[in-house]
Symmetry: D2
Subunit: 432 residues, 4 copies
Amino acid sequence: MNHNFTIARLGVCAIDSPLNINGFFSDDDRILFNTRLKDYDALTDSTGTPLSLEAAGPRKKIFFDPGRTKAAIVTCGGLCPGINDVIRSVTMTLFYRYGVKNILGIKYGLRGLNPLYGHQPMPLTPDFVKDITHIGGSILSSSRGPQDVKVMVDYLVQLKIDVLFCVGGDGTMRAAEKITAEIHARKKQIAVIGIPKTIDNDLNLIEKSFGFDTAIAKTVEAVGSAHVEAKGAFNGIGLVKIMGRLSGYITATTALAQGDANFVLIPEVPFDLTGEKGFLHILEKRMEASGHAVILVAEGAGQELMKQETKERKTDPSGNIRLQDIGLFLKNAIEEHFRKINLEINLKYIEPSYMIRSVPANASDSLYCSSLGQYSVHAAMAGKTGLLVALRRDEYVHLPLSAAISGRQIDPDGNLWFRVLESTGQPAQMKN
Amino acid sequence: MNHNFTIARLGVCAIDSPLNINGFFSDDDRILFNTRLKDYDALTDSTGTPLSLEAAGPRKKIFFDPGRTKAAIVTCGGLCPGINDVIRSVTMTLFYRYGVKNILGIKYGLRGLNPLYGHQPMPLTPDFVKDITHIGGSILSSSRGPQDVKVMVDYLVQLKIDVLFCVGGDGTMRAAEKITAEIHARKKQIAVIGIPKTIDNDLNLIEKSFGFDTAIAKTVEAVGSAHVEAKGAFNGIGLVKIMGRLSGYITATTALAQGDANFVLIPEVPFDLTGEKGFLHILEKRMEASGHAVILVAEGAGQELMKQETKERKTDPSGNIRLQDIGLFLKNAIEEHFRKINLEINLKYIEPSYMIRSVPANASDSLYCSSLGQYSVHAAMAGKTGLLVALRRDEYVHLPLSAAISGRQIDPDGNLWFRVLESTGQPAQMKN
Amino acid sequence: MNHNFTIARLGVCAIDSPLNINGFFSDDDRILFNTRLKDYDALTDSTGTPLSLEAAGPRKKIFFDPGRTKAAIVTCGGLCPGINDVIRSVTMTLFYRYGVKNILGIKYGLRGLNPLYGHQPMPLTPDFVKDITHIGGSILSSSRGPQDVKVMVDYLVQLKIDVLFCVGGDGTMRAAEKITAEIHARKKQIAVIGIPKTIDNDLNLIEKSFGFDTAIAKTVEAVGSAHVEAKGAFNGIGLVKIMGRLSGYITATTALAQGDANFVLIPEVPFDLTGEKGFLHILEKRMEASGHAVILVAEGAGQELMKQETKERKTDPSGNIRLQDIGLFLKNAIEEHFRKINLEINLKYIEPSYMIRSVPANASDSLYCSSLGQYSVHAAMAGKTGLLVALRRDEYVHLPLSAAISGRQIDPDGNLWFRVLESTGQPAQMKN
Amino acid sequence: MNHNFTIARLGVCAIDSPLNINGFFSDDDRILFNTRLKDYDALTDSTGTPLSLEAAGPRKKIFFDPGRTKAAIVTCGGLCPGINDVIRSVTMTLFYRYGVKNILGIKYGLRGLNPLYGHQPMPLTPDFVKDITHIGGSILSSSRGPQDVKVMVDYLVQLKIDVLFCVGGDGTMRAAEKITAEIHARKKQIAVIGIPKTIDNDLNLIEKSFGFDTAIAKTVEAVGSAHVEAKGAFNGIGLVKIMGRLSGYITATTALAQGDANFVLIPEVPFDLTGEKGFLHILEKRMEASGHAVILVAEGAGQELMKQETKERKTDPSGNIRLQDIGLFLKNAIEEHFRKINLEINLKYIEPSYMIRSVPANASDSLYCSSLGQYSVHAAMAGKTGLLVALRRDEYVHLPLSAAISGRQIDPDGNLWFRVLESTGQPAQMKN
């Protein structure tokens, strides 16, 4: 990757910020991209300066005149703890700090930007948003999948929106990028700000996606239940299927936070089912030695084991590949294995996904979401566009939308995975 | 039912209770069986006295000499919040209040009373049990299914057990009854005390089974998640499968406690799937009117709808009929229906069972379990046997084990079901 | 007490209930007042029939025409978990089940019924109340103390209120009684229904007041903290002051639910501070033996110990006697005692009151509050007045407002207190 | 500060690590001290290289022979969520990953290293520590204050300890430094590893201290209660005193996470009580405008306001200056102010400190503590000494004990404080 991480802006900032503070940020405040001594200057820009990112924060001069500014917020994709916290923070910061009183909530994700669906935008006020953080989900509702970019920009223009805040995942950031390009092509002055959301925590360059902390806390509860069930029965096995289509971040992190998992299976580390070193044999040895086992499997793990069973692999409305169900597959494979060797087991299968996505943010995520909301508004009011706000190396920064690529994975030779092995005691390799 | 509710005892109580209190109970303290003015004397005993139950509580004279008494606890069947609270309470009360120092925990349910399995009993001490209520499940582990009664009584005699506390459901109470009879036939002086456990709350004559309150609290969370998911998507449907093989108590009670359910489907109230008054049509009208729906289905509901699909109905190791999966059946039926009529829906399916059974008891159940434990010990020390301790009409009473029949169901013409209809707004009948 | 428990009604019920159910209740459905075999007929009415209470529930014929009925709700006194659940349930039942669309929320307790304060009533709709149970407190706010009865009745007449629901404690029930009498004297047809609220659970005749279960759960957390602090330091003492002005119900019940308390001090059981059998000496012996102690003290306990220190005893706006602070008094007395005998202790003092009163209801209380709301509406629509809805012996009943007398106390010779002694191991008497 | 951050080691690492992984770290893996582009090279070492810190992680060659190594853990100072997680992680990593079987828990903090007190060390095994994370506090108990360094080192030598893990705050790190120096002077080969603990999060150079996340979550609950109480009464004021002797981190962070605070008072930002711009006048204006207020005050705030009242300022056993009680001071000042101007208010005062320190770690802190434990063991086994393990800029690093200086404060001109002002809407200055 060799990226200059330049942030676009709509024009010159000529208006004094209404914020009465000392601590304004300038565009020269930048954060090093690499922080390891060995490679902080491995990537440099054209002047030989180490690669860096623009720091987020309030600017002394802003682009939009608050009294005349109209903002809109849209929330897309699957639910995730903290969406309502972001909506509240954006609304409160716009209203009270900048004096922007004209704020719309777009209903049902990008569908709400396509007037054909007839979802009317709703006005957002402090009174309306003040208590929404007690409720999970999104008060604006959501939807998956893209909409026609020209139609959406037509509608933004028609609604006289000046600033659009897009909360969503990988696909939404792609859509926001296209909307930004279309706005630019039409020479309109509409800022587009992304607030990245992925419960899988698999966005490149971003330390932690919002809702991840809450998701871990709830997944820890599910694994705790699996552990209790495993220990509560003779040769008990608790099997938990955990979110994570392409990465095992939630699964691995949960194992470290909870401490009772004996096997962690993730997409990044393929494993054999059968054979001397295969998972079933290792599990069998564990059952004989310890009499119980807790197994965490990420939904994207072991897909190759099921390949032969079916050819058709469809995609869901968001364009994601539909995964086969590794949870049920493993449940059946384990039960069959122990039936064959005539060893009684008691397997309990837990799939907590929707009980995780839908809870309100915990304090840590509320804090994070309120920060993301505040920084997003600062960026928007300064006329910056085509960016997303992110936490990186403990600093809030601006990233171009194009840099928000999902697909971050756990390095099987890296420290996180090693610590999982250390915590579970499972073999580093379950391949023959 | 015409039952005299007589409680058996092992012999004369000749030993002074070591308890230093005023408030001893006598066997003449009895609680009316019926409390409605209309029918409190509908059932009378041979003397024409209204039917009543013996009050539980400490007796002034006891049967067992604490210093020479050896007690054992066994926990059977599926996990349920509060088992460890009962174990703690029984142990603490025996140890500190009566001075019984010799207490064994039987491992893995009734299997642990069959020495062939080789599960060694473990000594229970205050130090060992003091913090176990923080953990769900049973520290003694559990198992399902019966064991040979003679073998178990042989083992009790061999271990020199004087008092056996059996925590378990319907089947366990049956087994305890048989053990009591075998002990009686052998003229042994071993007291058998049942502490009834059924998360489904379907034991006749008993106000509330322990763990039920915690189960409701956790199920409420699951339904809250379903509600958030239903409102978070266009035409969202949240479908939750809830424990309850033969009764809908958990399901109905959750609906009343949570308040967002739109449909409650229970075993006691059959429904049609199709047709003008069938569930799918009613659901369709709700989706058109409101754009979302939350559906709770007890695992035992609608079994007749699936009958034609398979003939074989097996039983599980506890002898329960294996149910077909109404949750997945409904999920498929709903999705197919809306596909047919070409109406987009977004259905999220939640099955929280094992995340409910395995949590630690909440404060209310801790309180209840500690009471049950204390009363059980009082009954045992007084040489009573073949009984279980129960809460009825807000009073703790002794019931003969034979009276503990599961199978209590919700009355479709009764007040509880009416209040569910009131809360959900669903039609009283979904039959054509 | 010799009470006929007759419930007043405004007139003949001539309107068919809009409820489409089978399970209507008649006024002849009555629940025995006493349920012990020994004394169920100790109290009889003039016909020699055992004393009984009218069962709550929907009536087939109602008094008020729903389309023309206007209802109001007022919430009074200190906060308590579940008030918003009651408001939601009353509103939902009125609106959806009876079709009463005209519902007002009175702000700031009885103050809101005095137009001089200028607090405008707010309209209550299903949309407004649907999510309020996530929030603690009362969305209508509250106030303490009485208002002029004539002024309030004038205002009810002016607002054309037909039904007034009063949520509040002892004092509020007194006020509701006076309002009922004034309405009766003016021959107005306004129903007044009380829903009793007292976090102390000290209302006579009532099994459990709403919010009590939640209060116990939160108090258990506070005591858990005290226990951790006590064990975390050398000679650690955790001292928790718990609500309970005149009764120790919360304190005693918490001790039973939590299990780690070593001393429970309540108003009903006086104790000496000094002397051989006094609390400080017993505590000293415990510290020497065990190295830590957890002490729960109800706010109304030990008032006599502090008498000499001050003469003036004021009353608060609700007319309650201002208590002296037994928590701080004990803290100082303990620290001084151990300083004197030169024994190092580490005392941590916890006063969780406002963190308990203000939380949302837990599932159990939500369930209870939704029941109370439903039954209150049924009573009101049937033109009953001057009553409160209560749970007694596991049945919902109507009680005349005059029967709602606070002041229930724990019997020092009774079973609850004995079980506390059993659980804590403290001496039955700490008096010289 | 110009520090080379060199980590001492006991000698050459000649033993192969028993860890079977690829991802070993070398001592050349270093993390930049500064990450802002402007100043990353503001500090350089003697070779002109930007200042950096040694990365934590497992080393390929280790110093101690696991089979012959004896480790000890001691926990000091006030309780904090997560101590038991650290104990569990250190024990599990030593035992299962390195094969160190000889592990002692030192009781009652540094007192336990002074044999005069007679507190016997307890053996720590996986079985003993496996479930301790469900319980708050420290299973080893703790104490405050120093002990004689020579006595402690004598005792370590006598016990044949090879590795000492010290969990504690500022003072404990000072003591650990002195112990390290004394060991060095005696030419003993005992490694001393610090795991910094400060619930106030005020350690310099460290991103986040463990337990802080849990503390915020619990404090958020307390502030939520204050908010409910403030809104539940006429002119309600919720006042919460929060931990933070010298810094307002918990208070400020809670305000950002919870979102309902109207005033945040911290040690770093002095304020006047009276006068036109003083706090009481601003509060008065808020009450008139909004009818309620939530005030958070850090325990160390406003000390200068109380100075005249007393001269004597003692120190506690840890050497900390005893603070005067700003919470009660403010409560009285507010009540007096509104009494004077004859404006009714209803103030509720909450002091949740001990209910925060004593809870078990939440998932996020469990994760963090398990990491700190793992990294500490890696450092120890590699023979490193006189260091602490810390998270900085999202990387785990080694810091010399001498670098662990508490006293980090919130910058009144910085971004965190600005975001608090943004969130509360309070004036930037409340000074005349």
